[in-house]
C-alpha cells in the first residue's frame, strides 16, 4: 500500500487510478494471423477475421498469453489458472464485429503492484488486474470532407489492459507510476513502448475530495500518450474539478479528452448507453487454461527484473539505492553500466560518469544509451585512466568529447594525441611549484596569514604553468607541504 504523502491541492485530496493499454509485441494479431507491424498501407494487414467477414472465427495467439504471464510475474500478481474471454458489445466504425473480445469477470492476471521512487520516497501502486483484449482500428478524420476513413490494420492487435487501484495522490505520482510501468513492460520485452505509435496508452481516472470524505465522482481522461501531457492533463482536470465544486456544482461522470494545444480537458460527446456493454462469455472461445508448469517455465526463463537488478548493483557494486535505480532505468543502460563497471573495476566512477557526463550528452542528442558513440568499453578505458591518475577529470571530459564526436575510438590514443597526460612527475612538478612560489611572494604571505583563497590563486598559476597537466591533488599536497 502507498506509504507516501502527497500535497493537497487547495485543500483537496487528489485521487487517481490508471488504466493502461499496452500493445503486446507479438508478430501476429491476438485472434488472427495478420501482421501487427506498424505503418503499413491502410487495410493491408486486416485479414478476413480482422474485418469480421461473415463466417470468420477467432483463434488465440499463444504469444499474447505468454506475454500476459510474463507481466503478471514481473509485478508479483496471481496468474489465473482459468480465465474467460467475454464480448463487450457496442457499435463504432473502428470495431468491426460490433463487439470487442476482452475479459470481464475473470481476467488472466489478478492483483500485483508497481513500485517506484517519487522524490526519493518509495511508493507502491496496487494493480487490480490485467487482462487480454483486442485493439480496435483507427479513424482518420482529417482527409475526407464530412467523412471518416477507417483503417483496420490495428484491429486485432493484442492489448494488455492494466488497471490500478485509485492509489495515486498527485499528478507527479501518476506520471512516476506510468514511467515505471512503461519501464517494466519494455524491460521484459512484452511491449515496444513506442508511445507515439500508440503502443502504450494511458487513461487516467481523476477525482478530488476533502480529506476523509468518501471518493468523489471521477472523470476519465482518455488516451494520454505522452508523460508530459499526462501531467498537464491531470493538473488541469484537478483544477477544473475543484473550481466546479467550489462553485457549487456536482461533478458528473464523464469521459474527457486532453487537448495538448489548449492544455485543457473537455468532455467527449456523451456516448448514449455507453455503460451497457452487455458483457457475456464469448461462445467462440473456450476458457483459457494456464497450467502451473507453463507459469514455472516462464518464470525460469524471465530476464532479471529491474528492481532485482538494482538490488544486486547495490550489493555487488556498492551503489546507493538511488544510483542503482537510475542505472536500471532500461536494460540498455544497465548493460552499459555493468560492462563499464566490470571492465574498469571502478563501479562508482563508472556510475558517476554514466549518470553525469554520458547522460548529459545522451539527453542533448535525444538518443538512447544503446546509440551512444562512446561504448561501455571505451568509457571503461577512460575511467581506468582517471582512476590511475593518468588524466584529470577535465582532460577526461575532453577525451569523452573526442570519443563522442568520433575523432578517435581509443582513449589512450586520444590522450596521447591531445597530450592530455597529467604531469605526475613529482620532481618536475616541484620545480614548477618552486618557480611559482618564488614569483608570487605576496600570495604566499597572504596564505600564511590565513587567507585560503590565496592558495587557489597559486594553484591556478601552477596549473597554467603546467599547461593544465599538473595533477591537482598532487599540487595541493606539495603546496601544503612546502608552505607549511
Amino acid at each position: 500500500m502507498n506509504t507516501g504523502k502527497s500535497a493537497l491541492v487547495h485543500g483537496y485530496e487528489v485521487v487517481i487510478g490508471f488504466e493502461t493499454h499496452a500493445q503486446l509485441s507479438t508478430r501476429s494479431k491476438i485472434f488472427s494471423r495478420a501482421s501487427t507491424a506498424f505503418g503499413a498501407e491502410p487495410n493491408t494487414q486486416a485479414c478476413a477475421v480482422d474485418l469480421a467477414l461473415p463466417g470468420t472465427l477467432p483463434v488465440m495467439n499463444k504469444g499474447a498469453v505468454e506475454r500476459a504471464i510474463e507481466f503478471g510475474l514481473a509485478v508479483g500478481s496471481h496468474i489465473a489458472p482459468r480465465s474467460i474471454f467475454a464480448r463487450k458489445n457496442y457499435f463504432y466504425p473502428d470495431l468491426p464485429k460490433g463487439y470487442q473480445i476482452s475479459q470481464f469477470e475473470i481476467p488472466v492476471v489478478q492483483g500485483g503492484q508497481v513500485e517506484f521512487f517519487l522524490a526519493g520516497e518509495r511508493r507502491s501502486v496496487r494493480l487490480v488486474r490485467a487482462h487480454l483484449e483486442e485493439d480496435a482500428g483507427k479513424s482518420l478524420h482529417e482527409d475526407f470532407v464530412g467523412q471518416t476513413g477507417i483503417d483496420l490494420n490495428r484491429a486485432g492487435t493484442p492489448l494488455l489492459e492494466i488497471v490500478t487501484e485509485p492509489d495515486m495522490r498527485s499528478s507527479e505520482e501518476a506520471v512516476a507510476y506510468a514511467k515505471e510501468l512503461h519501464k517494466i513492460v519494455t524491460w521484459i520485452g512484452i511491449c515496444d513502448g513506442n508511445m507515439q505509435e500508440g503502443s502504450f496508452r494511458c487513461d487516467a481516472n481523476v477525482s478530488v475530495r476533502k480529506p476523509g470524505a468518501p471518493l468523489g465522482t471521477r472523470r476519465e481522461i482518455k488516451n494520454l500518450n505522452s508523460f508530459k501531457f499526462m501531467q498537464q492533463a491531470i493538473d488541469f482536470e484537478v483544477r477544473w474539478q475543484i473550481e466546479r465544486i467550489e462553485d457549487g456544482h456536482a461533478i458528473e461522470q464523464a469521459t474527457v479528452l486532453f487537448n495538448p494545444d489548449t492544455g485543457e480537458t473537455r468532455a467527449m460527446r456523451s456516448k448514449e448507453d455507453a455503460a451497457d456493454y452487455r458483457y457475456f462469455p464469448d461462445p467462440d472461445l473456450p476458457p483459457l487454461v494456464i497450467a502451473d508448469e507453463w507459469v514455472q517455465r516462464v518464470r525460469d526463463a524471465m530476464t532479471e527484473l529491474p528492481r532485482v537488478m538494482a538490488q544486486r548493483f547495490q550489493a555487488d557494486y556498492g551503489l546507493t539505492e538511488y544510483d542503482a535505480t537510475v542505472l536500471t532505468q532500461s536494460r540498455t543502460m544497465a548493460a552499459y553500466f555493468e560492462t563499464a563497471a566490470k571492465a574498469s573495476g571502478q563501479a562508482k566512477l563508472a556510475s558517476n560518469w554514466i549518470m553525469g557526463e554520458v547522460a548529459r550528452r545522451l539527453n542533448a542528442g535525444e538518443i538512447d544509451i544503446a546509440e551512444s558513440p562512446a561504448n561501455a568499453l571505451q568509457l571503461a578505458q577512460l575511467i581506468v585512466r582517471i582512476a590511475d591518475g593518468t588524466i584529470s577529470n577535465n582532460a577526461a571530459r575532453q577525451v569523452l568529447d573526442a570519443l563522442w564526436s568520433r575523432q578517435g575510438s581509443d582513449a589512450d590514443q586520444l590522450i596521447e594525441a591531445k597530450g592530455l597526460k597529467q604531469l605526475n612527475d613529482t620532481g618536475a612538478l616541484e620545480e614548477i611549484i618552486d618557480a611559482v612560489l618564488a614569483a608570487n611572494p605576496k600570495n604566499v604571505e597572504e596564505y600564511r596569514d590565513g587567507n585560503s583563497k590565496a592558495l587557489n590563486a597559486l594553484v591556478g598559476q601552477i596549473m597554467k604553468a603546467s599547461q593544465g597537466k599538473a595533477n591537482p591533488q598532487q599540487v595541493n599536497e606539495l603546496l601544503r607541504k612546502k608552505m607549511g
Partner: protein, 491 residues
C-alpha cells in the same frame, strides 16, 4: 447405362459408383441436375447458380475420374449448399437482404471439405434469414414450397435444402441445425438429415447465428448417403475454429450394417404428451415397432426439462445472435442505406432495411436479455438450466443407447399459417431444441405419412460422438422399410 431421366433417382452412393465406373460423366450429371433445378424454380429452393463454376468443377472431376487414381468419395456428385455457408464462386447471402450480392473471399470449411472429396457445387439453397425460422418463410428472397404439397411449408431454416433433395433437384445438400433446422425440414419433406455432435463439423465459413448451437450437417434421401456426406464434412478444423473438437475424422458408414439386437431405445414420456398430433404419434409408433422387430428394446425414459428447453433456447440463441449480427453495420461489407443524416442514423437505417422482421425480433430479445440488470435473471439462468438439460440426457443414456421420438408435433403446416405468430413457431420446436442445447447428435428419418398425406419424421438422438450409432439405426430401419423411398408426385 441408366438413362438420364433416372439419374435423379439414384442415391449418392449409387451415383458415385456410376461416376466411378464412367457410366455417366460428371459434366452430364451436373447439367442434368441444373436443368431440373431450373425447371422447378417455382419451388423456390435455389437462390444462386454459377453454371460456369459448376461445370468447371465437374470437368475437373471427370479428369480425375478418367485418371482413376483418386480416392475421393464423392467425385463428380452434385451437392448444393445452404446459403448460410460462404462460397467463393457463388453469392453468399444467408437468405438476407443485408448481404445482397456478397462474395466471400474464402469458402466455408465444410464446403471445402466436400469439394476435396470431389463434390460438385450445384448452387446455393434458400433458407430462413440468418437461419432463423422453422418454415423458410423468413427468407428475404422468397419462400420455399414443400414438394409434397406446394401449399405447405418445407420446414426451416434449411427449407431450400430439404425441398431440393425431396424433389430430387440435387442428390444431397448441406444444411445447418441450431434448434432443429436440419431435422425439422427433413421431417417435413420426408427425407433424412443429421446434425452431428456440436463441434464435429467446422463452423468456419458458416454465417453465425448462435455460436454455441450452430452445427452443419447433410440432408439426403438415405442414412447411407448422409453417412457419406457427414464423413466428408466432419473433422477437426483446429486452425480456424476454436470450438472444433479435436477428435479424428470418422468413416460414419463403417458400421451401417451392424445388427440392432439388444439396442436399447429410450422413449421419453415428454415427447409423447398432449401436444403431439395423433397422426404423427401413429407414424412414430409404427417405426418403433419396426425397431422392436429388428431386435431393439424400447425403454421408457424421462427428459423432465423438455418444455423448459423452449424458453432456454429462445433466450440463449437470440442473445448470441444479437451479438453475432452486430457486424452488419454497413461499414465493411453488405447493405448500406442510401440516405442517412449521420453515423448513428446510417447504422439504424442500414440495419432496419437489411434485416427482416424475425431477425429484428430476435436481435431485440437477445439485446434485452443481455442488458444491464437482466443478464442474471435471463441469460445466466438459461445457461444454468441448460446444464440441467444436459444432465437429463446423461441420466437417460444410463438406461438406453439411443433416444427416439417425433421431430415435430405436427406435419408441415400451410404456408402463412404461422407467419404472423412467431410464438406458435417457437413452441413447435419443442422436440428438437433439447438435443441442440445439449450439443448431442440428432437425426430425422422418414417414417411414413400423416395428416394431409404429409411426411412424418422420427427423431433419433445419440450420446456425444455416436453419429455412427444413429446412422446404423436409421440405415437398418431403411433396409427393413421403404418409407424413405417414397417420392413426391411430379418430381
Amino acid at each position: 447405362m441408366k438413362t438420364p431421366t433416372e439419374l435423379h433417382d439414384l442415391s449418392v452412393a449409387e451415383l458415385a459408383e456410376q461416376l466411378r465406373a464412367r457410366k455417366v460423366s460428371a459434366v452430364e450429371t451436373a447439367q442434368h441436375f441444373l436443368a431440373r433445378a431450373r425447371a422447378n424454380a417455382e419451388l423456390g429452393a435455389f437462390l444462386y447458380f454459377n453454371e460456369e463454376a459448376t461445370l468447371t468443377q465437374a470437368s475437373a472431376a471427370d479428369a480425375a475420374l478418367a485418371a482413376g487414381t483418386s480416392e475421393a468419395s464423392l467425385l463428380g456428385v452434385p451437392v448444393a449448399h445452404k446459403d448460410i455457408f460462404v462460397t467463393r464462386d457463388f453469392a453468399a447471402t444467408a437468405g438476407s437482404k443485408m448481404l445482397t450480392g456478397y462474395r466471400s473471399p474464402f469458402d466455408a470449411t465444410v464446403v471445402a471439405r466436400l469439394a476435396e472429396q470431389g463434390a460438385v457445387t450445384l448452387g446455393k439453397l434458400n433458407c430462413d434469414e440468418f437461419a432463423m425460422g422453422s418454415a423458410n418463410e423468413n427468407s428475404a428472397f422468397g419462400l420455399v414450397k414443400n414438394p409434397w404439397d406446394q401449399t405447405r411449408v418445407p420446414g426451416g431454416s434449411s427449407g431450400g435444402s430439404a425441398a431440393a433433395v425431396a424433389a430430387r433437384l440435387v442428390p444431397a445438400a448441406t444444411g445447418t441445425d441450431t434448434g432443429g433446422s436440419i431435422r425439422q425440414p427433413a421431417s417435413f419433406c420426408g427425407i433424412t438429415g443429421i446434425k452431428p455432435t456440436y463441434g464435429r463439423a467446422s463452423r468456419y465459413g458458416m454465417v453465425a447465428f448462435a455460436s454455441s448451437l450452430d452445427q452443419a450437417g447433410p440432408l439426403a434421401r438415405s442414412a447411407e448417403d448422409c453417412a457419406l456426406l457427414l464423413s466428408a464434412m466432419c473433422g477437426p478444423d483446429l486452425d480456424r475454429d476454436s470450438t472444433s473438437l479435436d477428435v479424428p475424422a470418422e468413416n460414419f458408414a463403417r458400421t451401417l450394417d451392424d445388427s440392432l439386437a439388444g439396442l436399447r431405445i429410450g422413449v421419453p414420456a415428454e415427447f409423447f404428451g398432449e401436444g403431439l398430433d395423433a397422426d404423427v404419434r401413429t407414424a412414430v409408433d409404427a417405426a418403433l415397432k419396426e425397431y422392436e422387430k429388428l431386435g431393439a428394446q424400447l425403454v421408457p425414459i424421462t427428459l423432465p426439462r423438455t418444455e423448459l428447453s423452449i424458453p432456454v433456447y429462445y433466450v440463449i440463441a437470440p442473445a448470441e445472435a444479437s451479438s453475432n449480427l452486430s457486424r452488419f453495420d454497413g461499414v465493411k461489407f453488405g447493405h448500406r442505406a442510401e440516405q442517412y443524416s449521420d453515423l448513428i442514423d446510417m447504422y439504424k437505417k442500414t440495419r432496419s432495411q437489411g434485416f427482416g422482421d424475425e431477425v429484428k425480433r430476435r436481435i431485440m430479445i437477445g439485446t434485452y436479455v443481455l442488458s444491464h440488470g437482466y443478464y442474471d435473471a435471463y441469460y445466466l439462468q438459461a445457461q444454468k438450466i441448460r446444464r440441467m438439460i444436459v444432465d437429463d440426457f446423461q441420466q437417460a443414456f444410463k438406461q438406453c443407447d439411443l433416444i427416439a421420438g417425433p421431430v415435430a408435433p405436427t406435419v408441415a403446416w400451410k404456408l402463412g399459417d404461422k407467419s404472423d405468430d412467431p410464438l406458435a413457431s417457437y413452441l413447435a420446436d419443442i422436440f428438437t431444441l433439447p438435443a441442440s442445447l445439449a450439443g448431442l447428435p440428432g437425426m430425422s428419418v422418414p417414417v411414413g405419412f400423416g395428416a394431409g398425406n404429409m411426411p412424418v419424421g422420427m427423431q433419433l438422438i445419440a450420446n456425444y460422438l455416436q453419429e455412427s450409432r444413429l446412422l446404423n439405426a436409421a440405415h437398418r430401419l431403411q433396409q427393413a422399410t421403404d418409407w424413405h423411398l417414397a417420392k413426391p408426385e411430379g418430381f
